[in-house]
């Protein structure tokens, strides 16, 4: 059995590999194989997998990529993830990718879909819209047809039909992957000293660049190895990180929050891995099932409309309760419209429930962590010293 260090070293290697070697090798192993890239925050990876293709998460260049060309495409007041993603494309790091999906998250990613079409004519590029109306007969009907159109588009890339049975099989595989993700999250919430967030982050991040089956196995291995490790419990406070669902924070930011005395017991990093909160049924219409799961079993996040004003923030508060968190850190990327526009409403909901919270911003390449450590440390101290609990 692999130990935690071996598993996390492997994940760290994947995290640092901006040439996506594993995905390249996966594709090179069989001439018929294709890769479909996707950006945050959600696409139905089941359909890509059902076409015999690999879904590759493209989450920008992080803090390891020097952006030279990408800055020429964006003004200074636009977030960093699109410019580093453009950099990845221009520097041929994505030249093995056969298609790209740009989910409905904000206007920047939306417009990036059009830029991709202009930059790479002939490549399969789809802006993947999702309903903001959550009624089965309205948003559900619309979304099912969008899924049908996505299936047709992916069939064009795969060069074969994607049958309902193909989708059912892939859905079962992703159901298992989501269950393991939830197990990892539950394990961390129960014993955060055994599963530090810097490890959990890397473990989940590996799921962006590995075939799903390998990622599921990796999580099983990690859970077994982490359970077997004997690690000291610290007197840290338990916090949730919120607002980091698109442009990812540098790993050092996650480490800095932990070093400052916080156990991260929930977060919204790489939300795609747990977007659907329940198993998607395998019987009946597979596209209808995916549509229904999206409407009724998906997470609340800033990229989605909340039709019921009284429920705004409830998802986060429920998470605070369920994970026994003592506070929330809003860590949003600079210039991130969804996260920053949502924040005042969530802050109000937390304040109304007397849940301590602080806010700061980052960029994926932020290097200076001292202010973050100081802010998070002060927050942790204030919770420990002044919290009623």
């Amino acid at each position: 059995m692999k130990n935690v260090t071996e598993i996390i070293d492997y994940c760290q290697e994947l995290y640092g590999d901006l040439n996506f070697t594993v995905a390249r090798e996966w594709k090179a192993a069989d001439k018929s194989r294709k890769i479909i890239g996707y950006m945050p925050v959600y696409v139905p990876r089941e359909l890509i997998h059902a076409g015999g293709m690999m879904a590759l998460g493209v989450l920008g260049g992080g803090d390891q990529l020097e952006v030279i060309h990408g800055d020429a495409y964006y003004q200074s007041y636009i977030c960093r993830i699109p410019r580093s993603t453009i950099e990845l494309a221009i520097t041929k790091r994505l030249d093995f990718v056969d298609g790209m999906l740009f989910p409905s998250i904000c206007d920047v990613i939306r417009n990036l879909s059009g830029m991709w079409k202009l930059m790479l004519p002939g490549t399969y590029v789809r802006y993947f819209d999702v309903p903001q109306n959550f009624k089965d007969g309205v948003g559900g009907t619309y979304y099912r047809q969008e899924l049908e159109e996505l299936r047709e588009g992916l069939e064009g890339v795969a060069g074969r039909k994607i049958t309902d049975d193909d989708i059912r099989r892939s859905t079962a595989i992703f159901n298992e992957n989501r269950r393991l993700v939830e197990e990892v999250y539950a394990f961390r919430a129960k014993a955060p000293w055994k599963a530090p967030s810097s490890e959990v982050y890397l473990l989940l991040r590996a799921g962006m660049v590995l075939p799903v089956e390998e990622h599921t196995q990796l999580m099983q291995d990690y859970l077994a190895a982490a359970e077997a490790e004997d690690r000291p419990m610290r007197d840290n406070c338990r916090i949730i990180v919120q607002g980091s669902f698109c442009e990812q924070p540098p790993l050092n930011l996650v480490k800095s929050i932990e070093m400052a005395g916080c156990y991260i017991v929930d977060d919204d990093f790489m939300l795609i891995t747990r977007w659907l909160m329940e198993d998607v049924p395998l019987d009946g219409d597979p596209l209808g099932n995916l549509a229904s799961a999206f409407l009724h079993q998906s997470v609340e996040t800033a990229a989605k409309y909340e039709p019921d004003g009284s429920r705004k923030g409830k998802f986060l508060i429920d998470s605070v309760r369920a994970r026994a968190a003592e506070g929330v850190i809003f860590a949003a990327p600079s210039f991130c419209d969804p996260a920053l526009l949502d924040r005042p409403m969530l802050v109000r909901a937390l304040n109304d429930n007397a849940i301590p919270n602080i806010s700061f911003k980052y960029a994926e390449n932020s290097g200076q962590m001292q202010p973050i450590r100081e802010q998070a440390g002060t927050f942790a101290d204030s919770i420990k010293l002044w919290s009623e609990a």
Binding site: F102, G114, Q132, L340
Partner: protein, 436 residues
């Protein structure tokens, strides 16, 4: 006809006076709603369903227009800072913050009276992600009924039947019942048809006005002047007799200008010699609107076509008109076709056609910090247009209603250099467009 008195005070044209009266009347109706009992719907300019709102005898209040009004009156800066003090990020849209800051200060309308709380927030999520969050924020403040119309984005440059029927279904199942509930008025589709027929009439004259800029000299400025021309059709007047009359008057005035060989009207009277014909992308800056405009007309630069004047509806490029025969489908098509709901490649194609049809000398982008819907991708658009047309392009940056982001000397320097560049290109015979 526009004339000047000896002390250079501009005499307003009849259409200007007409529009001013329309706006004043609408604000008076809004601010007296608590006494008159009129119901108020708040909604946005893109995807504005004014014809439908009127079917329920409701008044239409537009937060963006209020922000613009406050921007032009130099009041928005304080409102934005007020919202930032309340916890709104310095990074996000200043329309939102001006609106929220205005609410915190009592939501005063341009007539000096308080705006009423809306009876219904009608969120038309068309071409701008921020709209969705803005309405959640307003709902948080007002606690009133909200209904949402989600208009899918035309990512592939086409409106599909699926998109259209999704919008129509939402109108039938959500938006119309919410309007009925808020107003107490039953929906009458024939009334909607009548409103749409009036819209189409006004749209016909609007397009004539916009296309008059193909003349040399152009009798209009299609950006700075254009924002006044689109005022009625983008706001609370589409579908009214007032809008028809306004555009008829405007058209007559412009016909006169063409006959007289005149250029556009500016705040300082008729523009002198037309030296540069530009196509402009992006919204204007509102806090220094006149100063910004002056930088153009002082140099003899006239904007012959602009994309901002298509943000509340595209009527020229592909000939859309509201259609009383297919009322709800027509509203869906209108929403889907608004400029920022179109894909970037489609926007580039549109601009390229404007460059050609309006015989423009150059392409200018006013990139707005607040507005990612417009701004993300503009640098690539600029290069595409340069490559395709061989005409010089330039880029300036400002903001909608945040005065902190308008740097007059930088913008003026950039524009002066740009006009010199156009001159140089002309002398050199221009650049050849990229081979197809």
């Amino acid at each position: 006809m526009n004339t000047q008195t000896q002390d250079h005070e501009v005499v307003k044209e009849a259409s200007m006076l007409k529009q001013k009266a329309m706006i004043a009347t609408n604000y008076d109706k809004l601010t007296s709603a608590p006494e008159s009992g009129a119901k108020v719907a708040s909604t946005y300019v893109p995807g504005n369903l004014n014809e439908l709102i009127m079917c329920f005898d409701m008044l239409n209040n537009l937060p963006e227009i209020n922000a613009i009004q406050n921007g032009m009156r130099k009041k928005s800066g304080g409102m934005i800072m007020e919202a930032e003090k309340m916890g709104h990020s310095e990074d996000v849209c200043t329309y939102v913050k001006a609106d929220i800051g205005n609410m915190a200060k009592g939501a005063i309308a341009p007539n000096g009276k308080p705006l009423p709380n809306p009876d219904l927030l009608l969120l038309s999520y068309t071409g701008c992600f921020t709209f969705m969050k803005w309405f959640e924020l307003l709902r948080d403040e007002y606690g009133c009924e909200t209904t949402m119309l989600h208009v899918p984005y035309k990512g592939d440059g086409v409106s599909t039947e699926n998109m259209r029927s999704y919008v129509v279904k939402q109108l039938k199942e959500d938006v119309i019942p919410a309007l009925e509930k808020a107003s107490g008025v039953k929906f009458d589709i024939d009334r909607l048809r009548e409103n749409l027929a009036r819209s189409a009439k006004a749209e016909e004259d609007l397009v004539w006005v916009l296309e008059s800029a193909k003349n040399k000299p152009s009798p209009i400025d299609a950006y700075f002047g254009g924002v006044f021309y689109i005022g009625p059709i983008f706001t609370a007047f589409r579908g009214t007799d007032d809008a028809i009359e306004y555009y008829k008057l405007l058209r007559q005035e412009i016909e006169e200008r063409i006959k007289a060989g005149k250029g556009p009207v500016t705040p300082e009277g008729d523009m002198s010699e037309e030296k540069y014909r530009l196509v402009v992308e992006g919204p204007p800056n509102w806090t220094s609107f006149r100063d910004f405009w002056k930088m153009f007309y002082d140099e003899g630069a006239v904007v012959v076509s602009s994309t901002y004047t298509k943000v509340g509806g595209v009527y020229d490029y592909d000939g859309f008109r509201h259609d009383p025969k297919n009322p709800l489908e027509s509203l869906a098509d209108y929403c889907l076709g608004c400029y920022t709901n179109r894909s970037l490649p489609e926007r580039v194609d549109m601009i390229e056609s404007y460059m050609d049809e309006y015989q423009a000398d150059g392409f200018l982008i006013n990139s707005i910090k607040s507005c990612n819907s417009f701004s993300a991708g503009q640098l690539m658009m600029m290069r595409e247009i340069e490559n395709r047309t061989g005409k010089p392009a330039a880029f300036v940056e400002s903001d909608l209603v945040d005065p902190r982001y308008f740097s007059p000397s930088n913008i003026k320097n950039r524009l002066e250099s740009y006009f010199q560049m156009i001159d140089q290109k002309r002398k050199a015979g221009g650049s050849a467009p990229r081979a197809a």
